[in-house]
């Protein structure tokens, strides 16, 4: 086992992690950035559509804040929203200095556009891979130490206990090719591992923090449906670009059904609202659903073929015979996989968690800016500002507190736990268990239109999945990644579904057909979940401190939600 020591350890090299490492290194001497893949070619950010919220000094930031908070259903941490709006111009300037390219209008100003669903806020679109390359170069220049192809498997604590009563003092992990194991001792640790939902990531960073005693919040705003695609086989990436350019959706009868669900936004609605409408159409026998671009004029068609990111995808799909110009394209929603959206490790405007020495940035922290999920572009802006702030305060924390030693017994037991699926003589394959879970949670009555009874069904099975996750067997280090992810995922499922059960209202993707209303009388509350000292999942409700926030609801009422679905008779 290789032992490393640093002031600040950053886990995850997406946009938030890179920003955290940069800022931490500007203050602290030794910063290690560990990533399961290659820095700047990893995580969601590198492959995102890269629409980034772009406030400028001349903008009315109060109006921006109002829009973001209202669309996030008042669940945003408004301190974080304000910090993001005020500090993002500096972060964008710096990325420009480091080589990220902006698009300019004919007056030489940065070209901003209205994102989907935006009214006052504006975004820019950049090339995501170029953006990440610029950050990598900056980190190389500053002397951030990269530890690539290493998967972190557990956090280490000053008292050797999980959950801890002390400090987080680093992490253990292994090289996913050679199997070499690491114990990294850090003055402060920043988790920037994202959520679930991309490149096989299963929210393991969030669950590692949970095991160490960190509080999670917003986990009930995780959904088991999301990924959309074409013709039952093609994954639809950068779908927001099709939306922005004016795609239409029609059902089997040729009806443009989104007019019934979202009369004003129609197909420009949020991704989860589109997904919900499509599933609802399907449940009422009006599938298949098609995407229609045949009405696109030359300018829109050209954009589809030239805009950064989407053009790569469109060329590849056309190469396979999809003809956007002349044909309807079958459009599907997939399910069975828990996609985090606005849940993660509870943190504040300094990126602090409830555990001393543990900080969080980006989606692993559930984007406190977002509330239940507000407008596009907030995620990446949150990664820049949240990453920068976590880097700053983690470095300051490490400077004040120094690096507390590792507990060697804990290092040994964490290493043994992580390697167990490779040592086991017999057991279950991660692919089989993942298939079992996905098959169980994918039907609409569980993945989308839930009620207390279907949520309890999942929770009943979750115990069994946890037991099976303890009996996984893999053949090599590549497989070991999957085993470690999956055992985090099943712990995550228990947390998510307990959150669904607790939240007796329909809000965002916490859909409860037995509570078809958004309850602003009783439920303007964050659910906070953690692992108590006996190892059990504990929960509390924390009122959103609207009394000290500038943006709040005009009135506190129960607002009915038309789900376009009701429980079948006799079920």
């Amino acid at each position: 086992m290789q032992q490393l020591k640093c002031d600040v350890l950053v886990i995850g090299a997406g946009l938030a992690g890179c920003w955290a490492a940069i800022r931490a290194r500007e203050i602290a001497q030794k910063v290690i950035l560990v990533d399961i893949a290659k820095v700047a070619k990893s995580g969601k950010s590198s492959f995102s559509g890269a629409g980034i919220l772009c406030p400028q000094e001349s903008d009315d930031l109060d109006m921006w804040q109002k829009e973001i908070v209202e669309k996030g259903q008042y669940f945003s941490d408004q301190d974080c929203v304000r910090a993001m709006l005020e500090e993002q111009p500096k972060r964008l300037d710096e990325m420009g200095q480091w080589g990220m390219k902006f698009e300019y209008d004919k007056n030489g100003k940065v070209f901003r556009h209205v994102g989907l669903n935006h009214v006052n806020t504006r975004i820019i679109t950049v090339d995501s891979l170029e953006m990440m390359d610029a950050l990598r170069k900056r980190m190389t220049g500053l002397g951030v130490t990269f530890l690539e192809r290493v998967m972190v498997t557990d956090l280490l604590t000053s008292d050797g206990a999980s959950p801890t009563q002390g400090y987080v003092v680093g992490a253990t992990g292994f090289n996913i090719r050679s199997g070499e194991t690491f114990a990294i001792n850090a003055g402060a640790t920043i988790i920037a591992t994202g959520g679930t939902g991309f490149f096989g990531s299963m929210g393991e960073g969030i669950i590692q923090a949970y095991r160490a005693g960190a509080e999670l919040t917003g986990m009930e705003f995780t959904r088991a449906f999301d990924e959309m695609g074409f013709n039952d086989r093609y994954i639809g990436v950068h779908l927001n670009t099709y939306q922005r350019l004016g795609m239409k959706l029609v059902n089997a009868a040729g009806e443009r059904f989104m007019e019934r669900y979202l009369p004003s936004l129609k197909e420009r609605g949020r991704r989860e609202d589109l997904g919900l409408a499509i599933v609802s159409e399907g449940m009422q026998g009006r599938a298949p659903i098609y995407m229609d671009l045949r009405h696109f004029d030359e300018e829109s068609m050209n954009k589809l073929h030239t805009l950064p990111s989407i053009s790569r995808v469109v060329a590849s799909l056309e190469d396979e015979g999809i003809d956007f110009r002349n044909q309807l394209v079958k459009y599907v929603v997939t399910s069975g996989y828990l996609w985090s959206r606005a849940g993660g490790i509870r943190n504040n405007v300094y990126g602090e968690t409830n555990l001393p020495g543990l900080f969080v940035a980006g989606e692993a922290g559930g984007y406190p800016t977002h509330g239940t999920y507000s407008v596009g572009g907030v995620n990446l802006a949150s990664c820049c500002v949240g990453g920068y702030r976590a880097g700053e305060y983690a470095a300051r924390f490490a400077g004040e507190s120094g690096t507390k030693p590792l507990v060697s017994e804990q290092v040994k037991s964490m290493e043994a736990r992580a390697l167990q699926p490779l040592k086991a003589a017999t057991g279950i394959s991660p692919a089989n268990l993942a298939d079992e879970i996905a098959t169980f949670i994918s039907p609409a009555r569980i993945a989308v239109f839930q009620d207390g009874s279907t949520i309890r069904k999942v929770l009943d099975r979750a115990e069994d999945w946890q037991a099976k996750a303890g009996q996984l067997k893999v053949e090599d280090y590549h497989g070991l990644v999957k085993a470690n992810r999956l055992s985090s995922y099943v712990q995550g499922a228990e947390i998510v579904y307990n959150g669904h059960l607790e939240r007796e209202e329909t809000r965002s993707v916490n859909i409860r057909i037995d509570f078809p209303f958004t309850d602003n009388v009783n439920w303007l509350k964050w659910i906070v979940q953690w692992k108590d000292r006996s190892g059990k999942l504990a929960m509390k409700k924390v009122p959103v401190p609207l009394y000290r926030y500038p943006v709040k609801p005009k009135e506190y009422t129960k607002i009915p939600v038309n789900l376009h679905y009701s429980k079948p008779e006799g079920e």
């Binding site: 492959f47 399910s335 609409a444």
Partner: protein
């Protein structure tokens, strides 16, 4: 489908770009030849990075998902 084809004849010996860059660690070196091979094609997430960066144009990716998809109805 993920990796539609990998033409070993076009792979440039020792270049390693796909091995170094793949976010899901699909590629590994072939010990005998030093060329790359798709060791874990089942883990391709169709990000298109390898196809774009391969200097020998050895790799063709299909956006058809290689992983099993599940549906709500």
């Amino acid at each position: 489908m993920g990796i539609k084809s990998f033409d070993q004849n076009l792979c440039i010996n020792g270049c390693r770009i796909c091995i170094d860059d793949c976010p899901t660690d699909v590629f590994a070196p072939e010990p005998a030849t030093g060329k790359a091979k798709a060791a874990y094609p089942e883990d391709c997430w169709e990000c298109l990075l390898c196809e774009e960066e391969c200097p020998g144009k050895a790799i063709k990716i299909s956006l058809a998902a290689v992983r099993k998809l599940y549906y709500p109805f």
